[in-house]
């Protein structure tokens, strides 16, 4: 059932990501709502579920956005794996403080954006550090900033 709910939320978020989020983009920096969903799911259900979820949602996103198939599934799998390292089964406390969740989203989203951008330009002579900083960390910060309103909905995950 949790996959069905996630899939419904995913389709709503994809519509928002492709239609409304471009209005909020600053140059190429745009928040990634799917990345937030993958991270939160992995924090709740662990890295195996998180990776599988990230792979499937990434693949679906590539298919319905007209992008390069496999790019998002790669980056979202990494996202799910890393977020899963902070899941319930791996920590002692029952729930995790929201600010920690924001930091996890920052880390996972930055790496997600980094891998997506790096793989899309892998044939070019690109500066890895520049991609990590400009096209990884900056959109990651923007994404985690957008995740802050989640605090109003749920204090602990």
């Amino acid at each position: 059932m949790k996959f069905v709910y996630t899939l419904i939320i995913f389709f709503v978020l994809v519509v928002v990501q492709l239609t409304i989020i471009p209005f909020f983009s600053i140059s190429y920096f745009r928040p990634d709502l799917i990345s937030i969903l993958v991270s939160v799911f992995a924090i709740r259900f662990g890295s195996i579920m998180g990776m599988s979820n990230g792979f499937v949602l990434g693949l679906l996103f590539d298919l319905i956005s007209g992008g390069i198939i496999g790019l998002s599934s790669f980056s979202k799998t990494v996202n799910g794996f890393i977020a899963g390292q902070f899941s319930r089964e791996k920590r002692e406390e029952e729930s995790v403080n929201f600010m920690k969740v924001i930091l996890i989203i920052l880390l996972c989203s930055s790496l997600d954006n980094f891998f997506y951008t790096y793989l899309s330009g892998s044939s070019l002579n690109v500066n890895v550090f520049e991609i990590l900083l400009l096209y990884g960390l900056m959109p990651g910060l923007y994404t985690s900033l957008l995740a802050l309103p989640l605090f109003l909905i749920k204090e602990r995950i």
């Binding site: 007209g66 992008g67 496999g70 790669f74």
Partner: protein, 274 residues
Amino acid sequence: MKSGLMRYLNSFKQYILLALLLLLSLFLISTNKNHAVKNIQSILFGNFALINYSVRSLFSKQESDELLDQRKLNAELMLENTLMKSRIQEDNTLRDMLDFKKYVEYPLFAAQVISKTGSIFKGQFIIDAGSSSGIKNGMPVLTAKGLVGVVTGVSDEFSVIDHLFNSQLNVAVKIVETNIEGILNWNGSELIIRNIPTTYDIRPGFQIVTSDFSTIFPPKINVGSVLLVKSSVAGVLSEVVIDPGEDIGSVGTVFVMLIENITSLSDVDIIQND
């Protein structure tokens, strides 16, 4: 022994799954040119773009027909103007004037950009016109200011455009004032023409148009102008940085040039770098 192995594998199962999923993703990236994969993608993308289009139309105002006609006229005038300028440059070659209206006669089909996707290296648009409007893969996309990109994916009602800020798109271009030919490419931060001998006198402001040798784009469509010329370390070859005619990031209305006999995308202009 068997249970020991199972226990061992179990302790590494998340890493094994990670490796499998990443390998599968890389395999999928390599299958992007496959026709079956493209077909599945165009069906899914076409259906979902319909939802995107409906949602986006709630937030953005549709342009009036009058404004759209005006934009179309501007685009046609731009094409004619660029051609005229080139003709002045080539005047003493006395080429066949029957060619004069060769591409101005290609009809332009107006479309709205409904979504911008991709990354800094692979910029893409989705537009609200597809095969039902006569759009096919490989058709050039432009605005009143110049070339914007090329159609790379088509469903019934929507199309995917690879715009100039896409490292997979290589455009054969010519510097009008000097007649130097080159290949224009996006390197992630700049639009550049590589390997131009430094002996050529190229100055900022020189106009760039599509080349006569282009297999995808009709010749003499405005692309932009020279921004600066960078010499390589050896000082023998230089890189010419181009300022695109159109502000690619804020494009709203585009025109697809409905060319009947378009060349396959696998030809010279578009080189898949996967």
